[in-house]
Amino acid sequence: MSQLDAILGKMRILAIDDLVESRSAMKKMLMILGADKVDIAMDGDEASEFIFNNNYDLIISDYNLGRGRDGQQILEEARFTRQIKATCTFVMLTGENAMDMVMGAIEYEPDDYVTKPFTIDVMRQRLTRILNVKEQLRGINESIDRQERRKVLPLCDALIEKQPRLKLRIERIKGRSLMALKEFKEALNLYQNILKEREVNWALLGKATCLFHLEELNAAEKVLEHTIREHPKYVQCYDLLCKIHLKHKKLQNAQNTLLRAAKVSPKQVLRQMELGRIAYANKDFAVAESAFKMSVKLARHSCYRSVKNYLFFAKSLQHKITPQNNKDSRAGSQEALKAVDEAKILYKDNIDYVFEATIIESTTYSNLGKEADAKAVAEKAESMLMEVNDPSGAMQLSMVNVFMATNQHAKAQDLLGTLGTRKDLSRAETRELNRTKSEISEVVVREYTTEINDQAIGFFERGQLTQAIELFDKATAYKEAGHTVVVNAIQAKIAFMDQREPTRAMAKEVDELMSRLGSLPESDERYDRWLQLRKSQERIKRSL
């Protein structure tokens, strides 16, 4: 086997296994077979690091890597991010239980897999074979690496002609290329021809995927159900089935389907994220919580890390957080605050994300009944929102909700006013806006305007009329502002015009406030002041 010696000797190799003995054994085995440059990694994180920093020709990974990500995920991520080339050979070492998941992977299948336990003889045989095959596929893979999918197709046909024994393997690449080019009819044809010969699982999934893209949803669903019956562990089928349920707007079915898949293969981040989102939409917070918890954990060191996981996890915990200081609530709030903190640190440069995290933090305190904390955090969110150049409707809506939860209804009202003028709200956001509007209590707004009124009187009494008018304007902007506030506002404006000079604009404002008051009955305690002010109003109007 001197040939294998020579090939391995030139290769940069990475071996991944979580068990220390297996790791060093694998390295030794590779060295005996002729390898020279072998790195070893103990888990997904270490592997990602190595893959990021090096250019490997061969990667051999155990499927089962203990608590972190599994070998299939390492492969998917590395191929997805193009950190390993299509020409790089990936060999998976697997136990029985993972075979369906590894073999069926439609997009990111390993080049070969070896079942444990294996002898050096087996490894020699397999490596010799797969490296040889990979060499024959080199032209095709190089085109893929250059992203020249169009060129891949004729290369595939030519190689099938030359190497009929590799037909199936090449057709698998061809099918994938056709799908990447969105030529689903042609791809469907290819898969159907393969299936005439034999029910290969990836061809079944390929067929279903094409049907899905060709909008033949029922046919796709039928193929998938058949495939799942035959290969219950073939989780990729569940993912596609879930998409079909979503298209049919059957959210509960979609959730159940993904739950089944997550049970078979709990470590797939994207699937857990999708499950979390769907469960959250279904208001099944317990499922959403565990899915997002898993997503946070799995994606922490991967390319799929996303702020959404942290935030949705914290949001899906809210259902168990209550002012009653019970165990669930304590644990839930701790986890939520921890997730929020982690998000704030990881995404500290993105004010939108930090804002959203702060909103959830405030909500957590509100749900805990810690009003002072909730309000303090709400204020932080408020000032962040002011820093944002062009805040989205969603951000403003979350702020409104936090204002409401922290009894700052008048501020909520303010922001709702702004939101009402936006033209870019989605249908859901408009619904949310209307719901919130009706929730705002008039009484509370009136309390707020009274508060402003008191401050304004302070300015008025100290002769700071400009500041007083500014605040009265703010207070009277609310339709709920009481008559006292309106009378005060009129008085301040008239005093201002008497002291400086009357302006048409301000006189008009006074007119408007007057007509808002209507006529006060004699019994009203403000009647005399009102009469006096009307006289002044007439006088000023005449002078203009």
């Binding site: 054994a25 336990p117 294996f118 002898t119 087996v122 034999r198 219950p232």
Partner: protein
């Protein structure tokens, strides 16, 4: 809580598999270190023989558990037959002293569950050895309808008449019976377009037995 044998068993087996892998590697290291010291070779061969058998037995247990599982489906995939066959030939040549020849194209590939075929081949070879054969010939035949078979001929005394007329092999009976039963189960797990794999045994007109592993 009910005692979950399956979980417990598979956890234990997973550990055993890892230990087995470590043991095989340790042996290979030892063999590498001692490769120039002829006086130790017989010991190494002896250890190898036993550990290979142990390894094989472990695989057999796994496969039996796998087949008897309700939700069992074989992991049929495309493999190169020689990749599966060569290590087994190597083992039987080196450790059990059989002479095995084959006429199989190095690029011949077929669709099968590799672990199950290993069980079938191993049992076929072991049966031949136990009955007293010294020489084996392995070949492959392909048919236009897509089915194919592995033909294994030995130079031993052949099957007894009683065995030849049995359609289904049972676990009862001789050691060979168990072997044939396992081979049959392994083949029957293979399906294609409504057809199922099978085993066919016969005696050669001149001498020896012939076992055919038929894939649908």
């Amino acid at each position: 809580m009910a005692f979950d044998y399956n979980t417990l068993l598979s956890a234990e087996l997973h550990d055993i598999k890892n230990q087995m892998q470590a043991l095989l590697s340790a042996q290979e290291d030892l063999a590498e270190v001692l490769k120039d010291k002829d006086q130790y070779q017989s010991y190494i061969d002896n250890v190898n023989q036993h550990s290979q058998l142990l390894n094989h037995k472990l695989m057999e247990i796994l496969s039996i558990l796998k087949i008897q599982n309700q939700a069992f489906t074989p992991n049929e995939d495309e493999h190169w037959l020689l990749d599966t066959l060569n290590p087994i030939i190597h083992e039987f040549t080196q450790l059990h002293g059989l002479r095995i020849t084959h006429h199989i194209d190095k690029d011949f590939n077929g669709f099968y569950d590799e672990q199950l075929l290993e069980i079938a081949l191993h049992n076929s070879f072991m049966n031949a050895k136990q009955i007293g054969a010294n020489q084996l010939q392995v070949s492959v035949q392909e048919f236009s309808d897509g089915h194919w078979l592995i033909d294994i001929q030995d130079d031993g005394p052949g099957f007894k008449d009683k065995q030849l007329y049995e359609d289904i092999f049972t676990i009862q009976g001789t050691k060979n019976g168990l072997g044939l039963y396992l081979i049959q189960q392994a083949l029957m797990a293979h399906k294609r377009n409504g057809n199922t794999g099978s085993i066919h045994i016969k005696n050669n007109p001149t001498q020896g037995a012939c076992v055919q592993l038929i894939f649908p």
